[in-house]
Point group: C2
Chain length 607, copies 2
């Protein structure tokens, strides 16, 4: 950790660990090189107060002084959302994915040197996920060879784009393309928003910041914005024309590049969201595990020490599945990163075959509960094409064994059988397949496909969740087939993998039981095994969160300190609060004293 | 609502309602009188900006100008936590419950006139739920006839008490009573903290505020505090002596009043927490239902209006069970209020028979997942005493029919059978009884009771949850047996009751299936019925949240406005943010311009 630690209140916990923590740090980071860079960047951020002073200032340095890999790790270590994320994460990728070669040649160098700063203006006040419902228009004017960008209504105001509120000079704006009075649907346009001389909004453009966001304030460093266009003109060549074109005379032409290419940017964003989720979860788990080891409550024998909270089974049943999930999400995130790179390379070579599945599973994994319709549709399509003999692809390839999965019996006779990866995998595959096929059957009985999708949408969500959980479980199992060096590292990861799978099985045992994938006896054996796995992972808990290699600076938590010195820290922090600058509070004379002395003023009586 | 509404964007929704909203308002409020008072107080708060200006100021008025019932409704309408809650809600009840008659006579008038302000100093930095583990000491000094209150360690500092940080002059302090070198465990003492002349802490007392709280800031109006004692002396008669006494010569004596009396205060607080939970949930649901009716997304036919989000089954499956829960919690809260009053009256008459069950079920209902051990222990005790023929009491009386519940078959053959209250009730009773009895069996096989409780604590939590859910379902069903006036009011409440029960049954179908209370076919019929119930309640959704009778002022939400005029409100609110006071942001010259112009200064290069 590199921090000066006088007393390590968690030393005893660390002595209990049964694996090589430094090797686990490598496994978590992905490679020794990535660990080394992350570690170095985290130290820079922790040691130089200026870096955190002003995010904007720090990001200037990212761009100027670090290579890309270092910059992205430094960005992660700084841990404050800012406009830069949208510039690099969406503005540039959108131009890369949807711009023609000439457009890329013109705009990318400007953007990469940050001579312009861009954002991604898609969402409108009245329109979010349904991109096809956007109202902003881009009408081609053949006289001037320009597009006129316009916000026809209040609800068409762009709303939410990060980086828009205060910083961006440009945006990729999504608007309905209209040529010769015909609406060709939503397309992307590069629009300059602010003067490069004095940063004032260009004529016809109204920009503001949408203000503070609901919640704990973590996103308030981002200048999410609002934007309206009053007939703003841009040259024709600022429409992103890789997928479709408008010619000089206003003719609309579609190239043979599929429209789904637009999803490419979203695939990137979603895979980063999965990565970010694993970081956020691991950070929370790190704090919770350390504090649960420090905190004692109940269970003391006459004046002795109370029990560590982490030793309670109920606490373990909440904490350890989350610890296992942090590792599971980390490994599935790693796989998604590979998937994205693979899809991108294929797209560059005009191979679009893997895009639909990548689109579906990044959407599903992005959240196991929201916007999973894409996954469900993809699965229903997979089920319906089973009859044709067409082999299912990618993460859906288990459907090739649908016949077996529909009738297989779970081979669990005692609790230890639940430790076999093949048994776990088959149970999850059978559950996902049976739920998907049952749902497809129900839909096929309705009057029409869309009606069926609507009527059974709740079940479709459950189907998608089952599929996505299977992906995470199977990627964890695949990871464990690889070489993972370090004493005891693979062993403890195997325990975590089983905890992840069996805690899911417990949580969703209604699915497994009602589809007959397991019987009540097997469900109860799974719980028995889970209890035993909790005991096995318990001595490794603190070392497993140490393996995330987070500095105290990054965790920024009194409860989650590396040295476990929780109480003095909490106590000292409290006294720093400005409320403690005075002993007798402001307002005593005005409000408290008159109350205590029963001298309410006439002012108080006027209500 | 009484507000000036020009255009009602939800008028169409309100026209659809199939019940009498004003009658439902009465059913929600509890009585016409309570509705009238709540409504009046909400208007006072909404119309007089001074009331919200400073909570302290407003509370002065509560005390001075309103009768108690009005004061509590006004407090609810102001909706900001403050020290007053602890003074009235814990300090006074603690003295009432644990003080002798003389102590009550001395302290209650001072407290009720607010000539002193008190808080409840129990929790310590190192000790929360385990009250018996507290470290603060109260050592009797027979020479001076005083107790010496002392904080021997850092972790013994009182930590969290609301009202302590800045306002309270007194506290009920919990400390280990020591007489003649013997530790008699934790007792309550009335301790003066601050001077009544100038509000400065008395000698030997250190007080501070613990600062801002994690989360969305809702609790930052409360002055949660930290407190240390350095050998602070108080007269002997400031120990709360109803339960046990220390005589002039230091003898410790226990009266025949049971120790659980201490729980009386907690029972009160917990029942208020259940009430508050129903308020918080109903408020969130009100905002979510209205916005879901305003918001449209997807599903448009060529340029037509998109579908209202509330019409999606997936949205209904998330929203409507919560709407049903709001009503369910309201009614169970009403029952708990009755229970508390009943227990209190019995306690005054030295009848302690109903306290253990009240303690157990308020703890369980307070949270369906935390601190439910009490419930589980109570249930295990109930199960073990079944053999003795002793009839189980209160909410556990269904155990009298344990034999039947262990073997009964669910009588559901088609989806409509799930509408019968008797069928629902029996399924929930059978599930709770079977889980409790199975758990008791497992525990009986372990080497000792405490080991068993520890080993099966996860199952015990599930048992407690099953029992508490049964309570909520059965209280909802009982409510529907009462007379509920108003056109269609009872009918729509019946639909909500079934939604509440069947959505729980769906969520926990693993419990119901593995214990054989229902079979997979019946689980699927329950889902079918649930889908149909969602459609039935859909047209009433907006009217059902209107029935909470919340003013826009109280909701304080752009999305949840009564008139549904969401987008213009969001838009206007955004522009009020101080960030929009300037068009070109502060920091442009220093940070953004040098970046765009590639003129990074040497200052930036020093990193």
């Amino acid at each position: 950790m590199g921090e000066m630690v006088r007393v390590d209140h968690l030393a005893e916990e660390r002595r209990k660990a049964q694996f090589d923590v430094s090797a686990m740090k490598v496994a978590w980071a992905g490679s020794r090189r990535e660990l080394e860079i992350s570690d170095r960047m985290a130290r820079i951020v922790a040691s130089d107060p200026r870096v955190n002073e002003v995010t904007v200032f720090c990001v200037i340095k990212i761009v100027s002084f670090f290579v890309e890999e270092e910059a992205s790790k430094l960005r992660a270590a700084v841990d404050e959302p800012c406009y830069m994320d949208l510039h690099w994460g969406m503005f540039i990728p959108a131009i890369k994915g949807q711009g023609t070669d000439e457009q890329q040649k013109k705009w990318l160098p400007l953007a990469k040197k940050m001579q312009i700063i861009g954002c991604y203006a898609q969402t409108e006040l009245g329109h979010g996920s349904n991109v096809q419902g956007l109202e902003t228009t881009a009408t081609f004017d053949p006289k001037s060879d320009e597009f006129v960008i316009h916000s026809p209504t209040l609800s068409s105001s762009k709303w939410w784009p990060g980086g828009l509120g205060k910083v961006s000079t440009h945006a990729v704006v999504y608007a309905r393309l209209i040529t010769n009075g015909e609406d060709h649907g939503v397309h992307g346009f590069i629009v300059q928003l602010r003067s490069l001389d004095d940063h004032s909004p260009l004529p016809g453009i109204t920009i503001g910041d949408i203000g503070t966001k609901f919640g704990n304030g973590a996103y308030n460093t981002m200048d999410n914005g609002v934007l309206q266009f009053d007939n703003v003109r841009i040259p024709r060549d600022q429409m992103l024309m890789r997928i479709s074109q408008v010619t000089r005379d206003g003719k609309y032409m579609v190239s043979n590049v599929p429209r789904q290419l637009v999803y490419g940017t979203m695939v990137f964003v979603r895979q980063s969201i999965v990565q970010d989720a694993s970081v956020a979860l691991s950070r929370a788990v790190c704090i919770a595990v350390r504090y649960s080891a420090v905190r004692r409550q109940f269970g003391s024998q006459k004046g002795g020490l109370e029990s560590q909270v982490i030793d309670y089974k109920t606490q373990q049943s909440r904490l350890l599945p989350l610890l296992a999930s942090a590792y599971a999400f980390r490994f599935v995130g790693e796989w998604l990163k590979w998937l994205y790179t693979d899809v991108t390379q294929r797209l560059q070579a005009n191979d679009f075959s893997t895009l639909p599945e990548a689109h579906a599973c990044t959407a599903g994994l992005k959240s196991l509960t929201t916007s999973v319709t894409a996954v469900a549709r993809f699965l229903m399509k997979t089920v319906s094409s089973l009859a044709s003999g067409e082999p299912p692809v990618g993460t859906a390839s288990y459907f090739a064994r649908a016949q077996h999965l529909m009738q297989c019996n779970c081979e669990v006779h005692n609790a230890d059988d639940w430790l076999k990866p093949s048994v776990i995998l088959e149970a999850f595959e059978a559950r996902a397949a049976r739920m998907a096929i049952a749902c497809a059957k129900n839909i096929s009985k309705t009057s029409g496909l869309e009606e069926g999708f609507s009527e059974f949408s709740i079940d479709l969500v459950d189907v998608a969740v089952a599929h996505c959980q299977l992906i995470v479980v199977s990627k964890f199992i695949e990871k464990l087939k690889q070489d993972i060096p370090g004493n005891g590292v693979k062993e403890v990861l195997q325990v975590l993998c089983c905890i992840y799978a069996l805690s899911l099985l417990h949580k969703h045992n209604g699915d497994f039981l009602s589809s007959g994938c397991i019987n009540p006896k097997q469900a109860s054996l799974a719980n028995e095994q889970l209890r035993s796995l909790y005991s096995q992972v318990r001595p490794n808990a603190v070392a497993l969160v140490d393996s995330f290699n987070y500095t105290d600076h990054y965790l920024n938590s009194s409860l989650g300190r590396y040295d476990g010195n929780v109480y003095p820290t909490l106590y000292e922090e409290a006294w720093k609060d400005p409320l403690n600058d005075t002993v007798v509070p402001d307002g005593y004379q005005e409000y408290i004293r008159p109350l205590l002395k029963q001298q309410l003023t006439s002012r108080a009586a006027r209500l």
